[in-house]
Amino acid sequence: MDTSKDMLIGLVAIVLGSIFTITFIAIESETGIIGLIALSGAAVVLASRTGISERISNAFSSNESMMNSAVLVAVLVIIFWFREDHFSLLMIATVMLYLTACLGLNIQLGYTGVVNFSGAAFFGIGCYTAAVLNQNTGLSPLIVLVIGGIMAALIGSILILPMLRTRGHYAAVVTIAFAILFKTFLEVNDTLGGAQGLKVPGMEILGWDFNSNIEIGDEIELSFYLNYVAIALVLSVLAFILMRRVERSWIGLNLDAVRLDETVAACFGISIKRWKVTAFTMGNFLIGMSGAVFAMMLGFIAPSNFAFSDSLMLLSIVLLGGMGSPWGTVVAAGLVILLPEKLQVIQEYRFLLFAVVVILILVFKPQGLLPRGLRAYIPGWRG
């Protein structure tokens, strides 16, 4: 009886959330945006004070597949709403691609505790792979994006070798070095376009050109970004499912054990190396794939897109959302990508702002906006 009431509250929350998101993306004036942020802040505080947020999370844990589908429908409605608006669709696709990358990062950091300060570099590997392959070969873009992921995973598996020989902060330093090295390498490498960057031909599958608008009859003309939004949505949903399934399995348990206590893990026969390599590779694969789509969507990439600060931004999404929390990552990716786009005032200060937000989160809510719960293995399973 209570669960059905919880579910109703959860569904209402999803409807309100999608109305909010649509308004947020559609609104032009900056004062309007600030007003909306204040409103949502008040709503969140109110919901947690009155216990409504708890009931929403109850709805998700007791009736997961239903609630997840509801969110998916809401996302489809949001996309449909902006079907003709290039810029809004570009933003939505960007959020989804960064979300995919951050879900990968979350498998590394949130579950396994492998700190990766070179997220943007692996994203860049996917981008450049797509650029080079699309320029020089006639491979199908779907294969290209998988190769983008594989390239990131492969280069990651070289980087993991020195990381496995170090512990804690030192492993993190290895990734910082790689992030800086990657950008410098691109800047001086002329075949990859040097500092000017590369043009990336768009996607084309079976004669379907992703870079021209979709015309249905004479009246309806849909933005060509809709193609990329669709691909990004499929990718992010698959990444979400993958992350969930990894967590809810013996693998997720191994990853947690490696993160929480390496000595204990080893004493019970858990191979630290195997699971760090697995998580790192899996994460980089997701990051690389999202990078490949991102490059094809933008049509142009340059080394400055893959600076160390971009890696930090990816990490700040993971921290803000909550370590190991897929829904948290969804919310945080939306906030971190959309806010600076809508509030041009903070655009220049966004890294400063994110730094402040990360510090505040670490001090006041170290588990993130939507903290990860206990492992449930199977939705609704109570043993």
Partner: protein, 261 residues
């Protein structure tokens, strides 16, 4: 071989040096099947070091370790565990944010399927597997404390010291080891809790036939009640071995604990 028992573990001349400090000095010890061996000695005498060398956390500087007839000197922690040695830690080392069930399953690692395809795509098989493992863990937990068996999906941080110790022992026992190492299980406990813990250890001995236990402990009441035999270490050297009464009346042991005038 003593009294026809099978020998499970033997240290021969086991030595561990940290730079100039000799933590273990030609340490010889044998543990028989089903025996509870007490390992005592003042602080810093090498008790925990011997556990760490045995379980592959430290590398031995010299000597050999034989387990079930195999030379396991300097095996990795993972291989020692697979051979059948399980342990608890001095300060309880559970993953406190994970549930009791999760923690026990960490101990069950070698019996679980860790294939990527299996875990991600064969969810139905995994579900059956999960249910079976859960029943198994619950049964084991119920031996120690039935109320805990009803709270398997709660995070360990909700529980007190004695319960955490029990969970830790379950984590070590779930994989059916041949040798259990208990490192100061009574540390941080009240007298009453220590008494309950002793009962638990005796329950383990009665229920699991053939399991050998090495117990590191400062609580002499516990050593007296639980162990069959004791080894006393001082500055990494074995100074005495025998039943608790013999050991306690030994002059060298009294000097080691109380000092010489």
């Amino acid at each position: 071989m003593t009294k026809g028992h099978d020998k499970v573990l033997a240290f021969r001349g086991l030595t561990k040096r940290f730079g100039g400090v000799v933590a273990l000095d030609h340490f010889d010890m044998e543990v028989d099947e089903g025996q509870i061996m007490g390992l005592i000695g003042p602080n810093g005498s090498g008790k925990t070091t011997s556990f760490n060398v045995l379980t592959g956390i430290y590398e031995a500087t010299g000597g050999t370790i034989e387990f079930l007839g195999q030379d396991i000197t300097n095996w990795t922690a993972q291989k020692v565990c697979e051979a059948g040695v399980a342990r608890t830690f001095q300060r309880s080392r559970l993953c406190v944010e994970l549930s009791i069930f999760d923690n026990i399953m960490i101990g069950n690692h070698q019996n679980l399927n860790h294939g990527l395809m299996y875990n991600i795509f064969q969810r139905k098989a995994l579900k059956r597997d999960l249910q079976e493992s859960f029943e198994q863990a619950k049964e084991l937990m119920a031996i120690f404390n039935p109320p805990l068996a009803g709270r398997m999906m709660e995070p360990v941080r909700n529980f007190g010291m004695i319960d955490r110790r029990r969970i830790e022992i379950c984590r070590a026992l779930i994989s059916h080891p041949r040798l259990l190492l208990l490192d100061e299980p009574s540390a941080g406990m009240t007298e009453d809790e220590t008494r309950q813990l002793m009962d638990d250890i005796l329950v383990v001995r009665d229920k699991i036939k053939g399991l050998s236990i090495i117990l590191v402990e400062h609580e002499m009441g516990m050593i007296e009640r639980v162990t069959d035999r004791c080894v006393v270490l001082n500055f990494g050297q074995k100074i005495c071995e025998g039943a608790y009464r013999e050991v306690a009346s030994d002059k060298l042991v009294q000097e080691a604990y109380l000092g010489v005038e």
